[in-house]
Symmetry: C2
Subunit: 541 residues, 2 copies
């Protein structure tokens, strides 16, 4: 034999649905065999999916896992390396990998490094392993690591000391902007340093707020990238190890995505997976003529198709004519179901009912919120009647400072732009208009000054700083954990920084009731930024 083939099964498990995951794994093993692969590597915890959260604590998990092993044992003539929950007799749970051949478990590896920071809570569920797994097959020495393990130099080094040639790495590594390339860059150095080939299989797909980009790869001990699987889609990639060369054959390079393409595709996949796996027939969203809803509409159409998307324009007194025109135009260009529902009678009925309570109180944000809540209730009514999921259209900048209405524009089951700063929203809209033949988002939507149109001649910049300034402050405070004093020291206006940070801190209660949305940064408003609502911490130092 001059070479052997290893398959990387970059697949999208359905969290918790062991039966369907196992079925998919068997299909992939058979497809890999059809391409003469001798070994197939699945992602971390592939049998259950990642992260399964408290499903990991269900008493029947052990029994279900045993049944999964029985089914997987029917696969013959290929070695499978897959992730599962290893429950030992003393009641410990391990995040584990099994090596199975012809129904026999040749070895089990328990993950040694359990991340418990950022979005990870593995110490809530798992006990650390303390032993390596190394096996010989095809005259080649393989080792196994699981995700975080490969980022521990010490753990990887130990495999090198055991004379391992190829490390099979099972992963469920969540996406962040730039991370697909960052992983490769970092592990190229490691491969060279430790003289190890790396076969890295990553989970793909959206799971609630987490995006798994896939982007699996093979890196030779020279540091060369022998194979790079596509991002944001399932794939079964075959790497060929050439025994004489002692290296994996270099495959044709997959084009690497630019930053905006990468983000855009991540949001499309996350939206598709959420809608489809939740079982919704389609989506509905409010189209305002502004850029957030315009971009959300484009993503929704790209995710599930125009025939499954309904857009509703809900104008009021302060809605400009160009908003109606632009919304109508975009809906037409994208071919979605479109309707217009004026909200005057609804807002008036609220105002009349509230008059005995309000008396002559001057108008304030209350009246603006009534418009937003009338719209939210209409969308939910349409959703309840026809079953489509409401997509929320707010962006990260708004959500950070609370420039949004709870139970109003915040309604929805999935907030597509939740982790996208407004400045990036603009970039993504421009990017989308470069894809395909049609400019789907009317130019004016991108160039006009942003406005919530909740009072006469309102502009976002009446209440907020320019978005490039706002986003820079937010980024320093949220992503970089900088203190108020540090941010002021960078040259931002003191009063402005204090105001922005106060708004961020005060709006935790709003964010807590917001829809989930896909995470694309290293500090999304989700499971990884856990602040108390009642909170006496004062910004400053």
């Amino acid at each position: 034999m001059k070479s052997f083939k290893v398959a990387l099964a970059q697949f999208s498990p359905y969290i918790g649905n062991i039966e369907s995951n196992v079925q998919r794994m068997i299909e992939q093993a058979n497809a890999a065999k059809a391409q003469n692969a001798e070994l197939i590597v699945f992602p971390e915890l592939s049998v259950l999916g990642y992260p399964a959260e408290d499903l990991l604590l269900r008493p029947s998990l052990h029994k279900r896992t045993q049944q999964a092993f029985e089914q997987l044992a029917t696969v013959k003539d290929i070695v499978m390396v897959f992730g599962f929950v290893n429950q030992t007799e003393d009641g410990q749970r391990h995040n584990a990998a099994a090596v199975m051949k012809d129904g026999q478990v040749l070895g089990v590896y328990n993950k040694q490094n359990l991340p418990n920071y950022s979005v990870f809570d593995e110490k809530r569920y798992f006990t650390e392993g303390h032993q390596h797994l190394v096996f010989e097959y095809l005259g080649h020495k393989f080792g196994v690591l699981i995700c975080e393990d490969v980022w521990s130099l010490q753990t990887a080094q130990q495999l090198a000391q055991l004379n391992v040639e190829t490390v099979l790495v099972l992963n469920a590594s969540p996406y962040e902007v730039g991370k697909p390339q960052h992983r490769i860059d970092t592990l190229q150095e490691l491969a060279k340093q430790l003289n190890l080939h790396l076969v890295y299989t990553n989970q793909v797909g959206g799971q609630d707020d987490l995006i798994f980009d896939g982007t699996s790869f093979v890196i030779n001990n020279s540091g060369d990238v022998a194979l790079r699987a596509p991002s944001f889609q399932e794939s079964l990639s075959i790497a060929e190890y050439q025994i004489e060369n002692k290296a994996y054959k270099l495959s044709e390079a997959v084009p690497v995505l630019g930053t905006m393409a990468e983000i855009y595709q991540s949001l499309v996949m996350a939206t598709r997976d959420y809608v489809q796996r939740s079982g919704f027939p389609g989506v509905i969203l409010g189209l305002s003529g502004g850029i957030d809803s315009a971009l959300t509409l484009a993503i929704a159409v790209d995710a599930i198709g125009a025939d499954k998307v309904q857009a509703v324009m809900m104008p009021y007194t302060y809605t400009s004519q160009i908003s109606v025109e632009d919304a109508t135009e975009q809906a037409k260009r994208m071919g979605v179901t479109f309707g217009i529902a004026e909200i005057h009678p609804i807002v008036n009925s609220f105002m009349q009912t509230l008059f005995p309570f309000f008396g002559n109180s001057p108008a304030d944000a209350t009246e603006e919120n009534l418009q937003a809540r009338a719209r939210g209730t209409l969308l939910m009514g349409l959703s309840n009647k026809f079953g489509n999921l409401v997509l929320s259209t707010g962006n990260k900048s708004e959500l950070a400072v609370g420039y949004c209405t709870l139970y109003g524009d915040m309604v929805g089951g999935f907030a597509v732009l939740k982790d996208v700063y407004k400045t990036i929203v603009f970039e993504l809209a421009k990017y989308r208009n470069t894809v395909g033949d049609t400019i789907v988002i009317p130019e004016r939507v991108i160039t006009r000054p942003p406005s919530a149109e909740l009072r006469p001649d309102q502009k976002d910049q009446d209440s907020l700083p320019a978005y490039d300034v706002l986003d820079a402050i937010l980024y320093a405070y949220i992503e970089e954990d900088q203190s108020q004093d540090d941010i002021i020291a960078k040259g931002f206006d003191k009063d402005l920084v204090e105001k922005v940070i106060l708004l961020v801190d005060r709006n935790e209660h709003k964010r807590r009731q917001g829809a989930i949305g896909p995470r694309i940064t290293s500090r999304a408003f989700s499971r990884e930024r856990r602040y108390p609502i009642v909170n006496g911490w004062k910004a400053g130092v």
Copy 2:
């Protein structure tokens, strides 16, 4: 000296507000000195408060903690044992206790057992300690433990082996029904077994969804409870150690609360702390004539006073006359601001606006939800205009099965009954009517069959099983983690169990957007029950 005195400072820190916490600690130390105490024990992490979540990751925490030490160092002539975050030079954070006398730190103890299950995430923040702290003072040998440490027999045993006489235990132990007594029962056994006196100081107060009941105590090595501090209120208790008797003097017994009194008081304190610490001038809630809102109103009044509570009845076609009568009557008895706002014009305006979309679709839950959302929007309008916090009135049974409307009756910042099953709601209402001279909840509210009154002659039991059956199934599934098959095997109707479990699983998305509310069980819908929304797990085994 024939005796010495130890103070237990059961206080309610303001999470994150180190300045005010330290100020309060100094006041308590001085008050203890005034009562001739030689030593004062504060709760776990008393300087910062518990749980501070990601505030623990703020870079300035170390500097702020140092400032706290400088201020605490001004206290003389009493030994203070308090909780703080110990950041070591290698960047590790420890959940720690300091022993300070006359401005000198005599010793530091790092918590050895870090809980990372249920509501706890300590391994996200802290590194385990590996050393005991024992010190002699007043001719007596003291050891220090922090919360979880005392539940580890091994850790406590080591102190006994070091010939410690009294263990000072600093705690932030969250409340669950019956837990105040359960702690004492368990530690009485431990004290006897290990021949140790225990001085147990617990945090008190509501913090978001967590309730800390206080109920600090001193247990002698005989197992006798020498002192028991009150529950649900701050207290500075003084225990006197009688040297000749080698035991703490038995104080007068505090009356132990019955179960309903305990729960009721826990909800009152949680509501008060949330409202006051969030800075709201008062609360507003929708009063429907049903038992949930009636009980919520009573709790609100007991928490912050009738003058700060506004109730609004929002009748529609399906609201019965007795609902209006009972709501009016209760508002009158309790002396709260009360108003009635008919929602017909609002619901009609929604229906008219939606007619072109709905056409002749038959009525379904959509129309019911419109009523609930009209009410929610009215409450939010009143809240926005006058600044009162909206209290949400739904109970745990409803929230479990999704028998509630997102953005409708679920609106609000604090859901007082979120963790209270409907059967317990009835018990609490009856209990409240036994307190004081007035029957505050009209009898009929308790005795009539529950109804959401969202369609003609609707009763909850048209859609749901009887609440005693529903709650028993929910308890088995949620609190006891039993499988569907196990619950059916207990004798419940198969179809019913399947339906209930399906509803629980399918309504995760609703709960995720609900208000926080106080936790009184061992498995609240909050930080301790973490299920994916997209979730393919099938009930059954």
